[in-house]
């Protein structure tokens, strides 16, 4: 049972966009954590994590995102999410993350929202 996960950091003028794909779970969460740790809130005021290519996310994967949100918001840097498939959305709804973080259907929507 081989599961794939990739994470890419795409710097834009106005935001850091992180694209994740595949299965974000306890095994792959550290990879995302490493990328999120690289973000300097002094340089970027907006982080967009694009969940559209995700196939699955578990609570550990989610906690990595929430923890990054906690760290960045202390420095006035906003972490936002591009909505993923139903299972991922259910987890966001279930955990109150959907209420607390700004969500969008695509990255442009989140950029314009500022």
């Amino acid at each position: 049972m081989q599961r794939s996960f990739t994470v890419q950091l795409q710097p834009h003028a106005d935001a850091a966009v992180i694209v994740v794909s595949g299965e974000l779970d306890i095994a792959s969460a550290p990879e995302l954590e490493q990328v999120l740790d690289q973000i300097q809130p002094e340089q970027t005021k907006l982080v967009i994590v694009d969940l559209r290519e995700l196939e699955f996310m578990d609570s550990t994967g989610l906690s990595i995102i929430v923890r990054a949100h906690q760290r960045l918001s202390e420095h006035d840097c906003e972490l936002t999410l591009v909505q993923g498939p139903p299972q991922v959305q259910r987890l966001l709804d279930l955990t109150g993350v959907a209420e607390r973080l700004r969500l969008g259907a695509e990255p442009g929507e989140l950029l314009n929202g500022r």
Binding site: I26, D58, V66, R67, Q87, D93, T95
Partner: protein, 562 residues
């Protein structure tokens, strides 16, 4: 015979050799015996080995086999009788007596030597054996080196074969028996010079082993009385007693009780070595010879000291390992769910399956707790993010935190709030999903912190979810967890579960999912809590096709009829 010139020159001059004279000079023991195994001839080496001044004296000795003077062992250490010696076998007509390795111990002096013995029968014209020629080569040096190498290499293997403390101590004791010693005593002291806290005995004779085993239990006559081994533990210096006499026995023993046992078990020769790790002595090993009558020598001491050093490392490793394993087991036990209490008016059952990673059960992040909080029983189920010990310790915090706050304020939203505050103070940044409920007569009051809602199964198979979850514990400031009330009638059931259930993956990577779980419940309407969870366990096993790779926890509650 021309005796004016030395033998070598006479031979070179072509006037020799005189073979009888040559035989006197060689290092091998050469003997010729007649058909009745009586000595006809013995060269100088043979006479010296046997301890006689002349051939006449040897021939006059009443015991022709010399077994009154020597004990003989075969290569495996088994005592040999006269009939198994090579010379009598050849004299009896056995034609193919192969060279034999024997270990000869002088009963009087305890000196021992290894000999390679070859016998050549001398037949008469009819082919009957009239005499035998026996040549015994002393191979003690080679054989001792071989034994030492073997003992050391076997020791390495034996000592590294177990991380169990008790087993390692037994292995240490047996590493040198019988190759180096007849019996062996391992003593450990917690503090230098302190009373031994552990004694292990190895003895080739089981009866004497039991007897020697009493040594550890016998108290000294005077408190603080020192034995040979406690002196070695104190000083870190080893001791060799080549020939143990009565006064040595008294020094070896601690008190009269031990002295009596030591006399009965018997000690011919003794070596006591420290078990040292760097400059710390953790114990002593005593090597004794008794019934083999062998005397221990300086080379034996060197081997024993090497054994002592290796044993010390092995014992210390296993001691640390055993201590850590005990700590881990005790902690793991404390992290396992408590047995479910009796709840008046309700039936309750639990399913708890920690993840199996690399064939080991992991203590995971899933937990549940059911207890009577006073006005109403309280149920908590949850999942700390992450795995391993860090997550497991937080499950303890959540369970015990719920107990305390539930007793003070038995209201699910308040309990979650206290847990959130508690978790937030931890530096780890961990988060936790949890569902908390109080149990009342035919209704539950529930609050959820980012946890999958409870599933309510009606008698007709309808499945509904409750409550609407609030945020994850430890995630956001200023959170609230509103409560919802869920009525549950007899014949209905409520399932609380962790996401391990719905995230169970098949071999192809497909997840069990909420849809399957709802259909499973519908198909089991009217089933009691325990049979329902048994069926769920089986269904997940079948779906998964292997050991669980994530934790699973579930609780099923149903009000009793009447």
């Amino acid at each position: 015979m021309d005796h004016e010139l030395p033998l070598g020159e006479r031979i070179l001059d072509g006037r020799g050799p005189e073979f009888a004279e040559l035989l006197e000079l060689v290092g091998e023991a050469v003997t010729v015996r007649d058909r009745q195994d009586r000595f006809v001839y013995a060269n100088r080496t043979a006479l010296r080995n046997f301890g006689f001044a002349s051939i006449e004296e040897l021939r006059a000795h009443p015991d022709g086999s010399l077994l009154d003077r020597f004990v003989v062992y075969d290569e495996a250490g088994k005592q040999m009788g006269r009939s198994t010696f090579p010379t009598p076998r050849a004299a009896a007509g056995e034609t193919q007596v192969s060279p034999t390795l024997i270990h000869v111990v002088d009963r009087r002096t305890g000196e021992s030597r290894w000999e390679q013995v070859r016998v050549t029968p001398l037949p008469d014209r009819d082919g009957r054996v009239t005499a035998t020629v026996t040549v015994a080569a002393n191979v003690t040096a080679v054989k001792s080196a071989e034994v030492h190498t073997r003992v050391l290499s076997e020791t390495g293997r034996i000592l590294s074969s177990s991380l169990d403390y008790e087993q390692t101590l037994r292995n240490v004791a047996w590493a040198a028996v019988p190759a180096l010693a007849d019996w062996c005593l391992v003593e450990l002291a917690d503090e230098p010079g302190d009373r031994r806290d552990h004694v292990v005995v190895a003895h080739r004779n089981p009866r004497l082993r039991d007897l020697a085993g009493q040594l550890g239990e016998l108290e000294p006559d005077e408190p603080g009385e020192h034995s040979a081994s406690s002196r070695v533990i104190d000083t870190g210096e080893s001791a060799l007693l080549v020939e143990v006499d009565e006064s040595d026995l008294i020094r070896i023993a601690r008190g009269r009780g031990q002295l009596r046992v030591l006399r009965e078990v018997g000690i011919r020769s003794a070596i006591v070595v420290p078990m040292r790790i760097r400059d710390r002595t953790i114990g002593a090993i005593s090597f004794y010879t008794s019934d083999s009558l062998r005397r221990l020598t300086q080379p034996d001491l060197e081997l024993a000291e090497q054994l002592g050093r290796r044993a010390a490392v092995a014992v210390e490793n296993s001691r640390l390992h055993t201590t850590l394993a005990e700590v881990a087991d005790t902690l793991a036990q404390s992290l396992m769910p408590n047995p479910l209490p009796e709840l008046p008016g309700w039936e309750i059952a639990a399913l708890y399956q920690p993840a199996v990673v690399e064939e080991r059960v992991e203590v995971g992040g899933d937990f549940y707790e059911v207890f009577d909080a006073g006005p109403a029983p309280l149920v908590l189920i949850g999942d700390v993010t992450g795995h391993g010990v860090a997550a497991a310790t937080l499950t303890g915090l959540m369970r015990h935190g719920a107990r305390f706050s539930g007793r003070l304020e038995p209201e699910p939203g308040r309990v979650l709030r206290h847990l959130d505050a508690e978790l937030r103070e931890r530096p780890s940044g961990s988060m936790c999903s949890a569902l908390c409920a109080t149990i009342h007569e035919r209704r539950l009051v529930l609050a959820s912190a980012g946890h999958p809602p409870a599933l309510h199964l009606a008698a007709n198979g309808d499945v509904t979810e409750a409550p609407v979850p609030g945020p994850l514990l430890g995630a956001f400031v200023d959170s609230e967890w509103p409560v919802e009330t869920l009525a549950v009638a007899p014949g209905e059931l409520v399932l609380l579960y962790t996401d391990g259930v719905t995230e169970t993956a098949s071999e192809s990577g497909e997840r069990y999912g909420i849809g399957r779980l709802r259909r499973f419940l519908s198909a089991h309407a009217g089933t009691g809590p325990q049979p329902l969870l048994d069926a769920l366990d089986t269904a997940l096993d079948l779906f998964r096709g292997g050991e669980p790779t994530d934790d699973i926890a579930a609780l099923a509650l149903a009000p009793r009829e009447g």
